[in-house]
């Protein structure tokens, strides 16, 4: 019965993606993260994620409601940290403003949403994305759908236990942790071995990220 260990890699994986948890992937413990389902020390994942974000053609951050709204002090701090991270990469920001099916359609340039029959993550042009501040259930839905149908490399900066359905996931995210990732980005950008990819269509990550909207 022993099969080769399942790896959570960029898709498109399947018509109907199995959840990584059902394929035997276990979430990291505090101080750890996972890359493609393998548990690693958090710093290793930091470096890996920073490299992925820098090298991406169209790196995109998807901030969710938990960091889009100034509903507690931590949320406001995280929002500021995310802005710093986005500027450091630089990454486009497309928020997941809520989780409703929106009629008649949503604009994938402006927002994404797993409950919408239109999860096309910016017309499928994102090659690396980072989820932060999305309720875990909704993040997992989105991550599964993205892994099923696109080749996007997904990163989750989760405030709880992490996400196996992302290709790379942190856990217990705080503003400090987000800033540490931003520092890794800046550090690696200074290193000659890490080069940003040629930017895609020109309207991609090259432009300045949008402001995080805080109430």
């Amino acid at each position: 019965m022993q099969k080769e260990k399942y790896r959570v890699v960029a898709g498109p994986e399947a018509y109907f993606v199995p959840s990584a948890a059902r394929m035997g992937i276990v979430l990291p413990e505090p101080g750890e993260a996972h890359i493609e389902g393998t548990i690693v020390p958090e710093e290793e994942a930091m470096e890996f994620a920073a490299r992925k974000l820098i090298e991406a053609k169209n790196p995109t951050i998807h901030p969710g409601p938990l960091v889009l709204w100034n509903w507690n002090e931590k949320a406001a701090k995280k929002a500021k940290a995310i802005k710093i991270l986005a500027d450091a990469i630089p990454a486009r920001m497309i928020p997941m403003a809520d989780y409703r099916p929106k009629y008649p359609k949503i604009n994938p340039e402006v927002e994404i949403n797993p409950n919408h029959p239109n999860l096309t993550i910016w017309h499928n042009k994102e090659d690396v994305c980072l989820f932060v501040g999305v309720h875990c259930h909704m993040a997992n839905l989105s991550l599964k759908i993205i892994r099923g149908g696109t080749s996007c490399f997904t990163i989750a900066m989760c405030a709880q236990a992490g996400h196996e359905d992302a290709m790379l996931s942190f856990r217990d995210a705080t503003a400090e942790k987000i800033l540490r990732l931003a520092e890794w980005v800046s550090k690696l950008k200074a290193a000659p071995s890490v080069r940003p990819a040629e930017k895609g269509t020109g309207d991609g990550a090259g432009r300045k990220s949008e402001k995080v909207f805080v109430k």
Binding site: F16, P65, W69, P117, H137, K144
Partner: protein, 407 residues
């Protein structure tokens, strides 16, 4: 480290509730706090567990054999240990009331049995899809016509597909420990699912047993709804434009995909509960002498009867091992494969007419011709240990074969 508390919960540890109980670190409460022996019925044990569980809302409804337990929680409410308590009008309504309270961020408890479980059935997949960590005690009884109030585990078969976590307690001690542990597991943000904690009615609820209780002055930390994987419906957390749970009704692939992913995610949550459950209840299964060539695999009170049969067989010089299945959802596939790898004959005694545990095992284990479904009893019949011994011998001649010393 599994079963972590949130920062909010940690900040409560050491503080007192209005009854003067101290919010206690669960691991301390479960494994380090002193225990005192008490001689109680299963119903009284349910009451004692809830006294220590920091429950916000309990919804009750009379149906044998859980009525006594449900009424005893009412006494706890009158004493101030449970914040709110009500009698619903039917099990369908009760489970809706439980859902409403859980949507609103409360720690919720209820109990049901037999026809009540069946009447409420529409709610359970809804609880799962909505990720509501409600704890429901199921004190199993007959569900067929003609009406029976007697112990019978057929209703559990119907719960297996709902997506709920499902544990099957053998003894009142299991019950006491697992009720408290159950809240900790099912409220984990990566799990956040309802738990059906099942037992065989009367055998567990109405018989007295010695149970080791934790100190009554210690209780679980309160539930923290703000680390839920879904939005708590209290107008305190974003997003404000939020429906639990929206219809995704467009007729196209990605709509169906959303639904499929949603279902897959709830099953993934059930898988994630393993790592939290195993250290608390001591593994999803428990084994004795599984190097023996004959095994009895059972859950609930059938385990106790299996133990007794094993003792009788030992007197005849036949060595039989035992596997107690504690968790049915998640199902202990790997554990069972490992535990049964030496077995040539696997007997599965059950208190229901269809033998659902044997069916589950046949689907999970290699060489499933080894599995002998039975003996079964139903409708409230007891299962004397001799029946297990005799039936097995009658069916297969296996025990005679081993007793004769041929191997």
């Amino acid at each position: 480290m599994a079963n972590e508390l949130s920062e909010t919960q940690k900040s409560q540890i050491g503080k007192q509730n209005k009854k003067g109980q101290t919010y206690t670190d669960p691991n301390h409460l479960f494994f380090k706090a002193p225990r005192t022996a008490a001689f109680y019925t299963g119903s009284e044990v349910i009451k004692e567990a809830i006294r220590r569980a920091s429950v916000d809302v309990m919804v009750a409804y009379p149906i044998t054999p859980q009525s006594e337990a449900a009424a005893l929680i009412g006494e706890l409410y009158a004493e101030g240990y449970v914040a709110d308590y009500m009698r619903g009008e039917s099990e369908f309504a009760v489970m809706g009331q439980c859902a409403g309270a859980a949507f609103g961020g409360a720690r919720v408890f209820t109990t049901t049995a037999g026809p009540g479980t069946m009447r409420a059935m529409e709610n359970f997949p809804m609880w799962v899809g909505s990720r509501l960590p409600i704890q429901m005690i199921v004190t199993c009884r007959g569900i067929n016509s003609p009406l029976s109030i007697q112990p019978d585990t057929l209703e559990m078969y119907f719960l297996l597909g709902t997506g709920m976590l499902m544990w099957h307690a053998e003894t009142a001690q299991d019950f006491f420990d697992w009720m408290l542990m159950g809240y900790i597991v099912s409220e984990q943000p990566d799990v956040h699912l309802p738990l059906a904690l099942c037992c065989d009615g009367f055998f567990v609820t109405h018989t007295k047993d010695t149970v080791m209780l934790t100190p009554p002055e210690m209780c679980l930390p309160p539930y923290d709804p703000y680390r839920s994987p879904v939005v708590c419906m209290d107008m305190e957390s974003p997003p404000v434009r939020m429906m639990r749970d929206p219809f995704i009704m467009k007729s196209n692939y990605i709509s169906y995909m959303t639904h499929a992913s949603w279902q897959e995610e709830t099953r993934a949550a059930c898988e994630r509960s393993r790592k939290h459950t195993i250290p608390l209840i001591g593994g999803l299964i428990e084994t004795e002498n599984v190097d023996a060539e004959i095994l009895i695999v059972a859950s609930g009170t059938a385990v106790s009867q299996g133990r007794e049969a094993i003792r009788l067989l030992e007197d005849e010089g036949i060595r039989v091992g035992l596997v107690k299945v504690k968790s049915l959802r998640p199902f202990p596939f790997e554990e069972l494969r490992e535990a049964t790898k030496n077995a040539k004959h696997i007997f599965v005694p059950e208190f229901n007419v269809i033998g659902w545990l044997a069916t589950e095992l046949k689907a999970a284990l290699p060489d499933n011709h080894r599995i002998i479904a039975g003996p079964h009893v139903a409708g409230g019949m007891t299962m004397p240990a001799e029946v297990i011994v005799r039936k097995n011998s009658d069916l297969s001649g296996v025990f005679g074969y081993y007793a004769a010393g041929v191997s």
